[in-house]
């Protein structure tokens, strides 16, 4: 097993929560630091980043395209942790899509080959597909949708991902898995920051203040 003491120690600590502040490292710096990885490991991180890029594009994708992507990734990805992260993300996407279809009164959508898909089919007519105790975030997500608070619903999704990935990270020390989980959580930070206009305004104000402060000092 390759140990990445230098790389892991060079990455700044991520905040406790994805909404606790700005990302501690820019995309270009992270990309530069990841160049330490071996070729095989860099390829795996590339697969994960590619999936996240795909996952970011929100709408206009058919169920069949999502299912085809799921099949292709299942076939291509060999790393167990990356596979686990992607399966978990697909599971969440599937549940979210099914909840939306159910609330809009649509028929059962086409679902990818996941254990959760069978449960959705079996309990399609019941609220939360009788999975509220297993997926507690689903209850909070539905409440946010009831209150028409889309950003809050998104926060619950990210919160679930962040908590799970942070818990997983505690199992690994200076290994490649630590890097994978860092990149995955950094992606959540980026996504949340890009969706959060309030945070964007704060960041913009802080940058303007800093630049003006530097200009005053020079004068």
């Amino acid at each position: 097993m390759t140990m990445y003491y230098t790389l892991v120690a060079s990455l700044p600590a991520l905040p406790r929560s994805f909404d606790a502040g700005p990302s501690p490292i820019t995309a270009s710096t992270l990309h530069h630091r990841l160049s330490i990885l071996t070729d095989d490991d860099r390829r795996i991180v590339g697969q994960l980043s590619h999936f996240f890029r795909w996952d970011r594009q929100p709408i206009g994708r058919t169920d069949a395209e999502v299912i085809a992507m799921h099949r292709r990734l299942n076939h291509e990805i060999g790393n167990p942790l990356v596979r686990r992260l992607i399966e978990h993300r697909f599971e969440m996407r599937t549940l979210v899509a099914a909840v939306r279809c159910q609330r809009e009164g649509k028929s059962l959508p086409e679902l990818p080959e996941l254990p959760v898909s069978d449960l959705i089919r079996r309990h399609w007519n019941q609220p939360g597909f009788r999975m509220s105790s297993r997926y507690q975030w689903l209850v909070r997500f539905c409440h946010a949708l009831d209150e028409n608070r889309a950003q809050q619903a998104q926060r619950h999704l990210f919160d679930e991902l962040w908590s799970l990935w942070s818990r997983l990270d505690q199992q690994y020390h200076f290994t490649f898995e630590s890097i994978i989980l860092y990149v995955a959580r950094w992606e959540i930070l980026q996504r949340w920051a890009s969706q959060n206009t309030e945070l964007g305004e704060q960041r913009f104000d802080a940058l303007v203040d800093r630049i003006l402060g530097e200009a005053c000092l020079e004068i």
């Binding site: 140990m3 003491y5 230098t6 892991v8 120690a9 060079s10 020390h173 200076f174």
Partner: protein, 155 residues
């Protein structure tokens, strides 16, 4: 020197094992700590010296190995070769593992200190505890080495 080449070899292996295995432990430990220190230096603006200092903690296993080797060094015969082998090898293995795992502790301490400099002392405590076990192995190897028979005409 004794007549059996096998026991001659075992005795010599026992004498040299603490140094060789202790050095392997130091190499592995200092390497882990040193790599973590180099990485942390990319992310901090000051306090480089203490990061490097922490990464050098596993060097002590080699020093303990040298002292045990010198205390075991004597003319080998059939009466002391098994004892030399047993004490030297077991002490060496203990030094090897303590150096290796101390390095991991140092790497974690460096990682923690980087984000929270005020925990430097506490973060180094686990590495110091691992060092304590190496000291036990070292001291008791010296005590037991004193009880080994000296070959006729030996040191």
């Amino acid at each position: 020197m004794m007549e059996s080449p096998f026991w001659d070899m075992m005795g010599m292996a026992g004498i040299y094992a603490p140094l060789a295995l202790g050095a392997i432990g130091s190499i592995m430990g200092c390497s882990a700590g040193g790599q973590a220190a180099c990485g942390a230096m990319l992310d901090v603006e000051s306090g480089y010296g203490r990061l490097v200092g922490l990464s050098a903690l596993p060097s002590s296993q080699t020093i303990y190995g040298i002292v045990v080797m010198l205390s075991l060094n004597r003319t080998i015969d059939i009466g002391n070769a098994p004892g030399l082998f047993a004490i030297g090898t077991m002490c060496g293995v203990a030094l090897w593992f303590s150096g290796w795992y101390q390095g991991k502790c140092c790497a974690s301490a460096i990682h923690a200190t980087k984000s929270k400099p005020e925990v430097f002392g506490l973060a180094a405590a686990p590495a110091a505890i691992v060092e304590g076990f190496a000291v036990f192995a070292f001291i008791f190897a010296l005590i037991l080495a004193g009880s080994l028979p000296v070959a006729t005409g030996g040191v």
